[in-house]
Chain length 225, copies 2
DNA sequence: TTAAGATTTAAGATAGATTAAAGGACAAAT
DNA sequence: ATTTGTCCTTTAATCTATCTTAAATCTTAA
């Protein structure tokens, strides 16, 4: 499982550093922005699992940032603020904040609220899946459908298909595929790969003699479309 | 649109009255329970949109009530408590509390947090029973029927079936199932799982040799349909 | 055209899955 | 306190699916 990514938008370097240390030691990947403009840009380019937003930013009110984010960003946003003012808390929550903590905050509590917020994300989210023509690969449920029918793939076949699907359009060398699927010791066992490409094609291709999904790049490897 | 229903579980009459007045004037329908037993019963009979749960109940610890509710209730639960103790807050949030407010709380803030919690609810659906083909699982009464006949399942069998039912269509790895049912120390005891899948199949499958509900994903785990 | 590369098939080996059954822990009933 | 019965754990035998390997056949690129 990958690390959950958290974006901190706060202008105080000490706070950012404190959060960075605590979050990274709890296995989160941390991104940082020191003003509203930068924060919105970063969130847009690379949407994180959760945003920690300070209300007191230099270039724009945090409430405005929150509203702007909420026009398109629907994961968790937790407000951090020195303002312990009822009106601000109410306004932030009504504008779609997931939670509100006043500084100084207790670290364990922040972590618990982050876990709670991320947990909630995961159930709300629509499942991530990939559709390639007649194929539909569901990464969460670990199932593959072709024309709505569930395909019966072995563990190795599924792993191979997953690798292909995550590198759609890219030529993968035999060596690379062998290393990823069978481990670093198997990079010369090209034969394994050929057999498994065979069985996979039998299951996912309409016409085995003219494969549309797994394309052979002779002398190099395979490409998935 | 109907009024959203809120269940208050708190033993202090003054607090209940205060909440009742405030919530009803904000267009919520309010239900009240003065102890854990009554609260759980009311929640089961008539699942509300949100539960306000006091941690200091006379008959049972609020943490236990929370855990019990969370086995089947997946809408919002906001904790109200006089305890402003970091450990309790963390524990409650990790047990699935949506939010945590310490008494005395500010009324407008509570209302904002309630709005926020209810807003988040609307995407995920609560259901107290699940029908899968000839199977009918009732999460509240913890009973399972097949073709209208009540099946006699042991505690472990029921827990396993519950886990499967809540992850319908998804492949669950052996490790994950073992962790969920037998706890974090049992992740290598694949054999337990196999035995229990065997006994479960005997009870829920029409034809044991061609299981329709619990599908084996060899080398990976099981999938429930 | 020819050598290297790719596919296909099938059989043996291995890891994984099912099933039955016995012993132990525990709770309910006597 | 003893018995009874249920459920859980553990072991072992058997069965099955999957992986590996080799060999025959086909395709591609120089």
């Amino acid at each position: 499982m990958n690390k959950a990514e958290i974006l901190i938008i706060d202008d105080e370097p000490q706070i950012r550093k404190l959060l960075e240390i605590n979050l990274e030691s709890n296995n989160y990947k941390v991104w940082q922005a020191e003003n509203a403009k930068e924060g919105i840009l970063m969130a847009a380019n690379h949407p994180p699992e959760l945003i920690l937003l300070d209300l007191g930013l230099p270039d724009k009110s945090g409430h405005e940032v929150l509203k702007e984010l909420r026009t398109w960003y629907n994961k968790s946003i937790i407000i951090l603020s020195v303002i312990n003012n009822e009106k601000d808390i109410v306004q932030a929550l009504d504008n779609g904040a997931t939670d509100y903590l006043t500084k100084p905050f207790r670290n364990a509590e922040l972590l618990a609220r982050i876990r709670s917020a991320i947990r909630r994300n995961q159930t709300d989210n629509t499942e991530s899946k990939k559709v390639c023509g007649d194929l539909e690969i569901d990464f969460v449920s670990r199932t593959v459908k072709r024309n709505q029918e569930i395909l019966k793939l072995t563990a190795t076949e599924y792993n191979l298909l997953l690798l292909f699907a995550k590198n759609e359009g890219r030529v993968l060398t035999h060596q690379y595929i062998l290393k990823e699927i069978w481990g670093i010791g198997a990079q010369l066992e090209t034969q394994y790969l050929r057999v498994f490409v065979g069985t996979l094609r039998k299951k996912i291709e309409q016409n085995q003699n003219q494969p549309l999904h797994i394309i052979t790049e002779s002398g190099v490897g395979y490409r998935f479309e």
